[in-house]
């Protein structure tokens, strides 16, 4: 494990990048192929892209995919409203007769037209439909797109480093996968989790840390849980425990787990977890 900790956008948050991933990023860059990152929610896929950008010292452009998104929105936007406004009131420096003045680049467009090489993060691709995904990869393959309104082709000045994340349990389409390299981020091991928690709670006492982590991995192993708690839930749980003046870390070792609702967000899961916990205590 390398210790090249990277300062990410959040400033205080640090991310530990591992070798394996660094290699995969390098190979994807050499092959000029997008890298698809998959993993459970809460494994820090998005954070990872930030860390990659940081370590490559390239600006990061983030395209947050939404279910209703059309591909053209990611490429460019023709701002008809401003043009209409200008034509009525004419108090801007823009030339109304030049449509080009009203074309705004979307995130992919920005990455193509940037004057340095950028990292383009396409976040949660699984939210969009299959057509969007395939069409987008066509654009990313050819590294160019047309602006229909002004009949102009935008080609990438520098081929961006493309990182795509997906939460989907289901696989993406075959043509899509065929054009990407793939990496799956496993849920952090307890060892890693300790590091992560220490980053978030530098002052945490080791008694609390050890007990919460042990309890956390124990409840994660409960069967029949639909949405297993992830890093985010653990952090919130520690916050909740710290806020409770009556709480003692030893309670956890005895199987007394307060605030399970912070860990389990679905009522069915919470129910199952609670009955599981009380059964364990009874034994």
């Amino acid at each position: 494990m390398t210790e090249n900790l990277n300062q990410t956008f959040a400033g205080a948050t640090r991310y530990v990048l591992d070798d394996e991933l660094a290699k995969i990023v390098n190979i994807s860059m050499a092959l000029e192929m997008p890298l698809l990152l998959k993993g459970e929610p809460g494994t820090g896929k998005t954070m990872l892209a930030h860390a990659i950008a940081e370590s490559l010292k390239m600006p990061l452009i983030v395209l947050n995919v939404k279910s209703s998104m059309k591909l053209v929105e990611a490429l460019y936007q023709y701002d008809t409203l401003t043009r209409l406004n200008d034509s009525r009131f004419g108090d801007s420096t823009r030339d109304v007769s030049k449509i080009e003045d009203y074309i705004r680049m979307g995130k992919i467009g920005q990455a193509f037209t940037a004057d340095v090489r950028t990292v383009l993060l396409i976040d949660e691709i699984d939210k969009a439909d299959t057509d969007f995904q395939d069409d987008m990869l066509d654009v990313l393959d050819q590294m160019e797109f047309d602006i229909i309104e002004i009949d102009k082709t935008i080609s990438a000045t520098f081929r961006p480093v493309i990182i795509i994340t997906s939460n989907a349990k289901k696989d993406l389409s075959d043509p899509f996968l065929g054009r990407c390299n793939f990496h799956h981020i496993a849920f952090p091991e307890p060892e890693m989790m300790r590091k992560i928690i220490r980053v978030h709670f530098p002052e945490i006492d080791s008694d609390l840390l050890e007990n919460t982590i042990a309890a956390f991995y124990a409840v994660r192993d409960f069967g029949d849980i639909e949405k297993r708690p992830a890093t985010r839930e653990l952090i919130n749980w520690i916050r909740a425990l710290q806020a409770d003046p009556d709480f003692k870390p030893k309670q956890l070792a005895k199987g007394d787990l307060p605030y399970l609702g912070v860990l389990f967000k679905k009522s069915q899961d919470l129910h199952r977890a609670q009955s599981m916990v009380s059964r364990r205590r009874a034994n």
Binding site: N4, D19, N26, I27, A30, A168, L177, F182
Partner: protein, 407 residues
């Protein structure tokens, strides 16, 4: 395709590729060629690198990571690799030809060849050409039969190759790739995992039938613009009804008998999901096969529902039957086949099933029994002639949904 000579002796990993294919991992020849391109990039300098690179390039789902680890460990555990000659070359050239036929540009690009020049060749000539290229590549590597060599570490070390590439630390050398592979870190993600409701949700997501419904309260922007233009700029706002899911579903579950017992959890998950997801869902139960009656209660005696009443329902209703379809043949064929006395009504079950299939043209039968076993059970063969049958797995569910949503 060949770049700077590489320290590591490498050979065509044809065998490795086919091993992966044999164990059922969907690896495409195109990605195999991409891997070769990666090997030529100077970034793959040790077995560790190869492990990572070939996984990132060849394996596209974490579900296969565990299988990959197993094949990798088995294959590279110090074993001598056979020379990539003769048969294997033929084989790979043939695969390349297939890939070529499907996607000429892609392959030409990967090989760095001129597409139009290759277009003129006959298939036989093409195969010869591919073979030449492959031979050229293996020979250039000084014929190393063993991939793991002492010289297997690049002088470049900390991957200084790529300007602006990511720094790779040197700390990982204490664990070999084979060791890492043998750890089987991805066991939990393999295909044999349980079918949970999140996975089911994914598969059933497309099972929807959106139709306009309710008050006209949504502005149709395209239509509004069109009508406004037609009016010469006088604004004309057009409203539409919003789309609602009006799909009606009947779910019939075989919940009787020991033969279904092993599948209770998976059926339960399907049932839970369906209940939460579909607004217009009717669930019924039966034992082994359907006679005149389905039951609304799991114990199958309180609330009977005669199936002839179904004729009055919307024929657009999707019928999903879940059962192992395994029983004694007479239960299906005989007029008094039911093992339950009260069901003996004179009509053989097969007739009842035919009636249901006629009433609801869009019906599927989901069978938790593995498809490879279907041919060994007579009643499954019979029922498959009545209903399209799919395995109760993620893939099967997806196919079933496609079948149900067909126009």
């Amino acid at each position: 395709m060949l770049h700077a000579p590489c320290k590591v002796k490498r050979i065509m990993f044809v065998d490795f590729f086919y091993k992966l294919k044999d164990v059922g991992i969907p690896v495409s020849p195109t990605s195999f060629l991409t891997l070769h391109k990666a090997l030529g990039s100077g970034l793959v300098n040790s077995l560790e690198d190869f492990y990572t690179a070939s996984r990132a390039i060849l394996i596209k789902s974490e579900r296969y990571f565990d299988l990959y680890d197993q094949v990798f460990a088995h294959y590279f555990q110090g074993a001598d690799l056979p020379d990539p000659e003769g048969l294997e070359l033929d084989e790979v050239a043939r695969v390349m030809l297939e890939a070529w036929l499907q996607n000429p540009e892609g392959l030409a690009e990967i090989l760095g060849m001129d597409e139009s020049a290759l277009m003129k060749l006959t298939p036989e000539e093409l195969i010869e050409y591919f073979k030449e290229r492959l031979k050229e590549q293996t020979e250039a590597h000084h014929g190393g039969g063993k991939w793991i060599g002492t010289g297997g570490y690049s002088p470049v070390g900390h991957s200084g190759y790529h300007p602006g590439g990511m720094r790779v630390g040197g700390g990982s050398g204490n664990k070999s790739a084979v060791k890492v592979a043998m750890d089987r870190r991805y066991k939990d993600y393999s295909l044999s995992g349980p079918l949970n409701s999140a996975l089911m949700g994914e598969a059933l997501k497309r099972l929807r039938n959106l139709v306009p419904f309710g008050p006209k309260d949504q502005v149709n922007i395209d239509e509004t613009i069109y009508q406004t233009m037609k009016n010469g700029g006088e604004i004309e706002i057009v409203f539409d009804r919003s789309l609602k899911d009006r799909l009606k579903i009947i779910l019939a579950i075989d919940n009787g008998g020991w033969s279904m017992d092993p599948y209770v959890p998976v059926v339960q998950t399907l049932f839970d999901y369906a209940r939460a997801q579909f607004k217009d869902l009717k669930t019924y139960f039966f034992h082994n096969t359907i006679y005149n009656t389905l039951w609304q209660d799991t114990a199958r005696y309180k609330k009977p529902q005669r199936i002839d009443q179904f004729a009055r329902l919307d024929p657009e209703t999707r019928l999903i039957i879940v059962g192992d379809a395994s029983m004694a043949p007479y239960e299906l064929m005989a007029t008094d086949g039911s093992i339950h006395l009260e069901d003996r009504s004179g009509m053989p079950s097969v007739e009842c099933l035919n009636f249901l299939a006629r009433t609801f043209p869009r019906a599927v039968w989901l069978n938790p029994v593995s498809a490879s076993m279907w041919d060994y059970t007579r009643t499954i063969t019979h029922i498959r002639q009545i209903f399209p049958m799919f395995e109760l797995t993620i893939d099967g569910l997806e196919q079933a949904v496609t079948q149900l949503m067909q126009k």
